[in-house]
Each structure stands twice: as structure tokens, then as C-alpha cells.
Symmetry: C2
Subunit: 346 residues, 2 copies
Amino acid sequence: MQRKIILIGCGVVGQGFLEILVKKKELLDAKFGFEPLLVGVADMRMGSILVPEGMDIPKFLEHLKAHGTVHDFPAEGATIGLNSLDLIKEADADIMVEVTFTDIKTGEPATSHIKAAFEKGMCVATTNKGPITLHFKELCQLAQRKNALFRYEGVVMSGTPIFDLLEYCLAVNDIKEIKGILNGTTNFMLTKMEEENMSYPDALALAQKLGYAEADPTADVEGFDALAKVVILSNVVLGGSIKPSDAAERVGISGITLEDIRKAKEEGMRYKLVGSTRIEHGKIIASVKPVKLALSHPLAGVSGAVNALTFTTDLSGDITIQGPGAGKLETGFAIMIDVLNMHREM
Amino acid sequence: MQRKIILIGCGVVGQGFLEILVKKKELLDAKFGFEPLLVGVADMRMGSILVPEGMDIPKFLEHLKAHGTVHDFPAEGATIGLNSLDLIKEADADIMVEVTFTDIKTGEPATSHIKAAFEKGMCVATTNKGPITLHFKELCQLAQRKNALFRYEGVVMSGTPIFDLLEYCLAVNDIKEIKGILNGTTNFMLTKMEEENMSYPDALALAQKLGYAEADPTADVEGFDALAKVVILSNVVLGGSIKPSDAAERVGISGITLEDIRKAKEEGMRYKLVGSTRIEHGKIIASVKPVKLALSHPLAGVSGAVNALTFTTDLSGDITIQGPGAGKLETGFAIMIDVLNMHREM
């Protein structure tokens, strides 16, 4: 069945998603009866285009690479230059993919995009942490009222399944605690410090050189990024409504020395930056801090720039999932699986 | 919506499933619109009962505990003493749960049960390795012809999601390789040998004492159990049609000494009994053997009587899932999630 899609934000993730649509075209049609029709794209830097009859996706991707703009893509009946909100309002689409940049303070422009799409009854897939962190309950209620589906697998651990895992594979379970390694950059640094005896400044410099850490590494090394994900998990999975400032603790790895790591190693332990959340006496207890884990702990073996989460459940015991926490194809895949699962449920 | 269920086999797994139905009754109804109606039970040792109006499940479980039989459960309009195949033929049910004992040589009586259910258009959930190992393709074809659903999450790693993970969370991915720790008993023994310097005979004796290993431990320690799961993964996930005898290698852990483990530890490595399968030049390469893994390998940190699998994919990178490989509630849950997902798709 044909599904009309608009793409809001056409950066790395949006392009990753389009590449997967091209690469898996035949499988999507043959196995899932899914035929995507890209009817509109809006991007802050690259302009916008609305084509009711749909665009040829491989040609569109080629055009993007060659010209770095979308508005001059040759397509009959195209409307160009609409701003993103107007494009959403004008478009006749089944699904909006929202992959604009994350603004964790305002949640904009993503939140307005998502609301506009729901108002029109469109289903929405996003990887944007902003709206999920700030407006999750409100957006869910609006989606429900408008009978629209809402998916956001990619906001935690990119395409490594978390929310779909709970929804389709662990449904019925009561989730008692969630605990994990939610920041690949700091896990990479701790691994280098332990395995190669690298100092903290050297490990940080290497992470920056490899593109894992930003020039200002505060969000990673002080635990803010991991905490944002803990807050999302607390609210989405445990039904809380907490803000980052409600966390019991937020300690990063900048205080961890090679000496600490050496000592832990002698005790058969290993430092990991662990984010965790659970409900105690009706209250969410969320934290991010370096924890010394026994080597036998499922999270102790998680090495390098990867993520992992352990769900403690009442029926299935402890279930741990480990995988990439970032990447063009990986995050593009998060959108792909959201769109596909919405297609299956529409 | 009411779903009529018959339960063939009422041992540990069948009772675990019924206990979950009782424990989660309200959630199943409120969240998923799922109302189970148990209309028949057949068990080799405990007899059979068919009650078209359905049985009170909590009372039925109490009766089982008190009397160890099913045929004398007081219910109006009950037909008792039918053999399992006749019960399947007589029953008016939507779903058959097949959890009889596994006979890996013949696949019976489970295979006949499943065929009879499909012939009547019933959907089937099973945890029985026999039919999946021996008759997977044939059963899938029959199910498709009869428009019936077929689920078997519990045949590998009990309720830890494998097949649902691929179906709902990693769909569209090309699975290039599957590699994992598929036998909890041997992993428990290796962990004891490494962490507590326990000899192989002592570790085996402890595993037997704790009920992990059988009196004749051959199936576990020589890798036959892990290989059976590798064969299932090869056929179900990679589309192969291999038998255990087609495996490239099957080596167990009985040749591993404390000295081997000590040496590996000195090298920063750890022995694990690893089952793996991949396609090379159109041919399945399946094996089970002890492998020395770097401590940073995702499978190296898997300690104790648990299982873990790594899927190497083309879009999502390496995804590893770890969890219990056995247990009453855990395997009962495998049936629960299969039944629930079939209900969602019916």
C-alpha cells in the first residue's frame, strides 16, 4: 500500500532514512506491502519542496548531494519555498518524519511540527529528543485524540530497539528498573583509560578527534546527555513526569582518574557511567553516576562507543540489549522501523 | 475480544503461562482488549478436559495443584478423557498452545498436534524445539495455506526475545551472522571455573545440584543443546535447511581445563561456548565450540546461567540481547507474548 510521507529536516538522519528506503525498496514492497511516496521535504538550510505526485527518491538524493538544496529539484507540480509549518499544513500525507535539530531547552521547532501534523491526522516518527523530553504526555494525548500514531524509537540509543522491544517483545511485563550505559562517548573514554592506560585528557582528545565528543564536551562528560535519556525513559516507560532537575544525582566521569580505574581493576571491578531509574514508594528515583561494576555484571562487558540497557522485569527477568547509540544508517533505521510499524498498524 | 484457547501439555511451561494469564488479567483486557477463554486442556500424565463455555483459570490452577489431574475438574458440559489429537479436532478454539515434552528425534507428538490445529485454522504458539528443528518449513507452509499464525519465541532463549526482536524491532535488516551463548549450563560452569577457580568436575557437580545440568550432562557439555538452537536459528532466521549433522563443528567444554582458563585470563581473554551461524557463498556455516574472547567482546561479559545472542546486521550494526534461557515464568512468558502478538494480528 502506498504511504505518503513528508520529511521535515533533511540532514544526516533524514538522508539516512531515504537511503534505506532506496536500498530496501523491493523488500519493503514484497514483504510488507509498503510503498513510500515522498511528497514533501522541508529543511532549514536546504529549503523546501512539496510535490503531491511524489518524488523519485534516488534522483532526489543525487540532487541533494550535487546541489545541497532541495527547492530546485525538478518535479512537475512542485510548490517550493513553503516554510516547514506551511508545508505540513499544505501536504496531503499519511506520515510525517520529524528529524530537525534537537533544542532541548525549547523543544522547537520540532514540537510545533509534530502538533501541526497530528492536527491533520498524520502519524509521526521522530528521533528528536526535544519534544519527547519536554512535551511527551501532551503530544501523546493529542495523537490519541486525532487517532494518529506516534513513534520515537530513535530518541534513545538510535536504532537499537528500546521502545519497540518493550511494546512488541516484552509487553505485559512490569518494568521495575532500567539501568544502562547511555552515552557512547564516555564509555569509549573509560574503555580507553582501562584497556590502554590512557589518561583522561588523552582519552577525551581522542574522542574529540574521532568525532565522538564535541569541542565543548560538557554534555557528555558531566552526564547531561545520559541524564536526558534517563529522564525520557522515566517518563515514557515508567509513566513519570520528571525533569532533569528532579534527578537524585548527576555525576559525570571528569573526576575519574587512572588511579581509580587501576584500583577498581585490582578488585575485579570496572567503572561505567550508569544511568538508572526506578519507582520507589510511588516516586521516580533517577540518577547518572560512575558506578564500579563487578566484571560479571551484564553492563560491565559493554566496551567502546556503544550503548546498553538492562530492563528488570517481573516475568522475563533481566533483559539487556546492547547496540550502537548513534550513526547515520543506525538512526535512519530508527525512523525506518517506526514508519514500518506504523504502516503495519494503520 | 475473547480468544478461545486450548492448552496441549500442562507441565511447568503450560502452568507458567496460565499463571501469567491470571496475574495480568486486568492489564491484558484494559490495554490489549485480550480476554482469554480456556476451553480445553490435554496432558499425557494429567488427562484431558474440554469445556466449550470455558474454565475459571484460577480455580483450574488450584485444582491442578491439589489433585495433579485435569479430567476431574468440575465444569458444566465438560467432555473428559479425549486424547490430545481428538481434543484438538473437537475443540472450537482460536489458538492452540503446544507445550508438550520435546522429542528432538521424532518431533512427536507436537508436530501432529500442530498440524491438526492448523488444519482447523487455529493459530499456534509453541516452545517445543522438536517441530521447529525437524519440520519448520512444512509447518509454515501449512499455516500459510490455512491462513493461521505460527509463533515459537520460546524455542530459543525462552522468553528473551529473539524472533519477535527480528520481526518487530529489526525488520528490514539483512542478518549477516548470529553468534551467541546458547547454553546456560555450560556458561554457568565456565563462569564458576574462571571466577572461583573451580575444577570442571566440581563445576559440573554444582550445576547438577542446582538443577541446571541433568544426570547425563552430555547434551549440555558436549554442545548438542547449543547446536540444536544454532540449527533452528540457521533455518528460521537465515532461511537455511540444515540438520545438526550439517554443522561444520560441534565441540563442547569437556576438554577445557582450569589451566586453559587461567592462561586465557592472563591474556585478558575468556572462554565461552559460542554457537554461530552465517551464510558464506550461499551455504550455511554453523558451529558450536569454545572460543577465547577478548574481555571487550559483547559476549565475554555474559556470566552465569544466562544466554545472549549477537545479530550482525547491515543497517543496525551489532545488536546483542541477553537474558534468561529457561525458567517457568520466563518460558510461560514466551507463550504469553506469542499469544498476545497473534491476538494483535488476528
